[in-house]
Structure formats: C-alpha cells, structure tokens
Assembly symmetry: C2
Homo-oligomer: 334 residues x 2
C-alpha cells in the first residue's frame, strides 16, 4: 500500500496512491490525516488496504507529487540514526578524529526537530549560504506504538511505513553546535520526506533483515551524485535503531526513525564519485571529506541559492517507489 | 486563564480551570484538545477566556490534579534551554571542565523527545536505578507559530502559555551519550509537565522581561530540596531562547521551550542546601556537584525506586499556580 498527504491545513489530507503513483483516492472516511491513521493503525490499515485494492483496479483522481506535503507534515518524533558507520568514520577521518570502537556496536542517534517538515517539492529557504547548506539522502521508517525496552528483534514488527528523507544539514553551524555538547539544533533545519510512504510489503524481497536493499539515488543540479546501496554497509538495521530509541521511554505511533546518510565503503576503498565509476555519495560533506583525504582540500562547494537536489529510489523494474524529493535552495527573505 | 488536559485518549480533553484550581469546565465546543486550541489560538483564546470568566463566577465540575495528563500529552516540539548558566558552570566545574565564554552569550539548547510525555502524577517507570535517575525542575513556555529568524524581542509576543516541567534525566547515561557527540537521547526519558498551563497575564507583575519572577519549589521525599528564584540568574530570557530555536526554521504552534534547571548563584557562593539556609537546588546533580567541590565527593544519591519528587510554584499569596508535579520512581517491569 502507498499513502500520501496532499497539502491541506496543518496535517494534510490522507490519500491512498496507486502503485505506479499516477492516481489517488481520498480516504477521509477512514482517517483524515496520516497521524490519525497511525494512531488507530490496527483498524485503519485494513480499511486503507481495501481502498488501495479498489484503486489498483482503476479509477481515482490524477496524482501529482507536487501537491504533496511530507507524509507526516509534522510528527511527534523524528529520531535520526547514523547506521552507515562508514560515513561517520570518513567524516571524522577528514578532521583527524579517531572513531571509538563503540560506534560499531552502539548506534549513534540524534533527536531531530519534527514540528515543521517541508514538502518534498518545497524550496529549502535559508537566510545565508555561508551556513553550508547540504542535503542528506536517507531511508526512514514510521512505527506504531513501541513499548519502552523493546528488543531489536521485536521492534521490527512495529515498522509500518517506509519513506525517504532529505535531512537538510547546515555544515557551517555543526562544528560550533557539537562543540557545545548538546547535539544538533540550528544545524538541522526542516527536513523534507518523499511524496509517498509505503508499507514494507511493497518492496517484496528488497525489504529484508529490516533494511531496504535498493540503491538510493541523489542528483545535484540534474547530475547524478550518488547511488549507494541502502542495504549494504548499514551497520545497524531499523530494528536495532528502534530498540536504541526505545531504551528508556516508549515511542508514540507516528515516530519516524532515520537510517542516517546512506554510504557504501566499497571494499575498503574510500569511495569514488559517481562520474569516476563509483557509487558516489548521499551528501556533499562526504565527497568533500574524500577530497580532503585524497587531495588535502575540499573542492565541491555546499549548495548555493538556486541549486537543486533530487532524491529518489527505483524498483528493479525502474519504477519510482516513493516519488521524488526535488528541492531548490532559495534565499529566505525574512 | 488556566488550562488543563484531563486524561482521555492520546491527546487529553481540554478544560478551563478556575484560578484556585478547584473547578473546571469542559470546552469541547471550542477545541477538543490543547493542540487544537493552539493550532487556532487567535480564535480559541477569546472563546476560552469567555468560558474562564463564566467559571470564575461559579459552577463547573470539581477539579482533581490527579486526573490530568500533561497539558500537551504529546507535542510536536520540546526544546529545552540551559538558561541558568550558573548550573552549567557548576556541573562542568565538578568534572574539571572550563566553561567557554560563548556560553554566556549563545544559549545552550537541546532537542527533547516530545512524543510520550507522562502525566504530572504518573510514576516515573525506569528499568534500572543504576541509570542515575534525577529530576530537573524548570519553567517552560508554549508558543504559537513562530516565523524563522524571529528576533528575541519579537519572540516574546509568541509566548501563549507557561508551565512547569520535571525534565527527568538519567545521569548515568549522560556522559556516554554526550561523548558520542550527538547530544541526549536515552538519557532524557519522558518528561512530566505541571497539571495546569496558564496564560502569562495570570502572573501579573511576576511575569516580567520574559522571565517568571517567583521561587520554584522542589521537595524530595516530602523534604524541601530547592526554592531558587526563577527570575534570578536566568542568563537568557524566553524571548532569547525562542529566537535561538527559530534561527534556521519556523516553530509550530504548541512548541514547548524550557528554561533549563533553575539555579541561583547566590553572590558568588557556590550555593547552600536548603537545610543550611540556602535556596537549595532544582536537581540532584547540582547538590552532588557542590558536595564534590566542597568535600571531594558526592553524598546525595540519585533517586531510588519509591522516591518521590514534588515540584510546585506559589503566588505571593501562597496559592499554587500550576498545581503540583508529584511523581514516584518505580521499577519498570518490561
């Protein structure tokens, strides 16, 4: 089943979307919003699936990804892991910092702001290019209610939906914030999620061991930038990430858990840009890190006003699964 | 005006409470929940105030603080500052760390989990006493929609409600998490807010310069523990804290901004326990810090199963303003 939230009020209008992303059916009679559906998922899911089956048979309205808000336009929780430890190690290496051994066994995760997501086709409005505007392409899952202390194995059954995200990051603000010791705040502005959220069964055998086994594609200004395999080098699966988040408190239905920037190690090679035959990168910070390691300094600039980022994932038949996050950076006039 | 959310479903039932906290009126015809009222505050506020005036004249149901959820049982954002820099300096001093000068000019703030608050009279259920269970007594404000890049001066007008909070903290988990560099997560379990949220005008001249000018009382196991003045030694006012949070993204209506643990410096004296004639402390970590500085080691233990913490604020006539947070720590059986 595929779901989306058309832009409408604060929380959008929940719709069921056809598998090929061309048509939708409004489902106000089941749940007005995505959060309302997740709050009553045991009842809402079968009712939504009945609508989805009917829609697959034909009918519905014409679906336009540009009319979508993020599937949860605002959420009660957005907790982002860093499951591709390779990415973390590279970034640290570039600044000469060692990676503690514990990073391979204890997930890194931060509490993100979840009150003001922007839509998948909304501009990224920022006051200052000097903040070092970067994208981060990631896979995320949405849970139902998760009890405190859940095991990683039991956590997997709480994964109800899968989405992509552009976890916009302000690289220029990160060092100062992390040095203060309390994690990210200003350096992580509003994220944007894929137009469509899907149930895991939509991925068939590409959803396995609580990981998505498909490449995640990023293009910067219409040029391929990254296509790493999301199922490769993911040190912690989504069950482990959820269990980490739920160690000392329950998680409310509608909690979004992120994978962190998708990154492949490539047999010990520090990685190659996509133009050099490599899988490339899911954020600019990583290619800058590689450039720094190889050449002593970073060449690729962070995003400037007018730059465009597109993030998408295709199934083995070449069809877009989640629709595309496609955003342009613009100057915030405020 | 005073508001509360009676326990009911996921988001509680919004009620108007009499000034003396003895009676309430349900207001489903205005807004079913606190979040719904905040989402439409310009219309909801006058309608709720009309109910409040009627309630002050008499009538209503009997109000019992024990039936309350946190005013926002779950919220889209909980951003907690550390405005009492004195507290931060003391904690650092105890572990031999210097306080960077920037801490006096640039607010420290972390993104808290907001999806699973517990009620003001709910037990604090934790799996392990060894996690170092502590309370933190703080003042918080709730905003309406705040534009990105708001100034500290303009931010003050966005403060719609004031509450108290027990920002439960797991001291044993903090050093490990902060060492990883991404801030708190497991070390900050579910917070509990005061039974009642009030509009700033309820404080009269005790609300001044975007600070609350009254003592915040904490009792541990029915023994007075702290009574610092919330308006004293608050380096950053709530306008500055909101502006800090909104630097790179807008804040959604219903955003909760915390003051951080209330702490007074007392003319350069590192502070005295309340039994020694001082104003005491708003968390156990701070008295342990003082003990460490004075005696070389901490004597006061963190909370054990069965321990009770009560947090309350009284007006100049001795009446409870927000009702009391009153919680017992218990073993989580999961």
């Amino acid at each position: 089943m595929k779901l989306a939230s058309l832009k409408h009020g604060r929380d959008g209008q929940l719709v069921v979307v056809s598998n090929d992303l061309t048509r939708y059916t409004a489902v106000a009679s089941v749940a007005a919003t995505m959060q309302a559906a997740l709050d009553d998922w045991a009842n809402a899911r079968p009712a939504l699936e009945a609508v989805a089956r009917e829609l697959q048979a034909g009918g519905g309205e014409s679906f336009d990804q540009a009319t979508c808000a993020s599937p949860l336009p605002r959420a009660y929780q957005w907790a982002d892991g860093s499951a591709y430890v390779n990415h973390v190690e590279l970034v640290r290496k570039a600044r000469g910092a060692e990676l503690p051994d514990s990073f391979w066994t204890d997930p890194l995760m931060y509490q993100g702001g979840s009150d003001s997501f922007i839509g998948p086709r909304d501009n990224i409005a920022m006051a200052d290019e000097a903040w070092g505007i970067d994208f981060e392409a990631e896979v995320t899952v949405v849970t139902d209610d998760v009890p405190m202390g859940v095991s990683a194995a039991d956590a997997v059954a709480h994964i109800q939906l899968i989405m992509l995200v552009n976890d916009v990051s302000l690289r220029g603000l990160i060092p100062g914030e992390l040095a203060k010791g309390f994690g990210f705040f200003q350096s992580k502005p509003s994220s944007a999620f894929s137009p469509v959220a899907i149930t895991p069964d939509e991925l068939g055998d590409r959803w396995k061991n609580a990981k998505v086994h498909l490449p995640l594609l990023s293009s910067l200004n219409d040029k391929a930038f990254g296509k790493p395999e999301a199922g490769v080098d993911m040190t912690f699966d989504f069950g482990q990430l959820i269990a980490h988040a739920a160690k000392s408190r329950p998680l409310c239905a509608g909690t979004i858990i992120g994978s962190g920037t998708v990154s492949n190690l490539l047999d010990g090679d520090p990685g190659k840009a996509i133009g050099d035959g490599g899988v490339g990168y899911s954020c600019i910070a990583e290619i800058r890190t590689i450039e720094t390691i190889l050449d002593g300094k970073a060449r690729t600039p962070f995003m400037q006003f007018g730059d465009r980022i597109r993030i998408e994932m295709f199934d083995t038949d070449g069809a877009s699964i989640f629709g595309a996050i496609d955003q342009v950076v613009e100057k915030y006039p405020g």
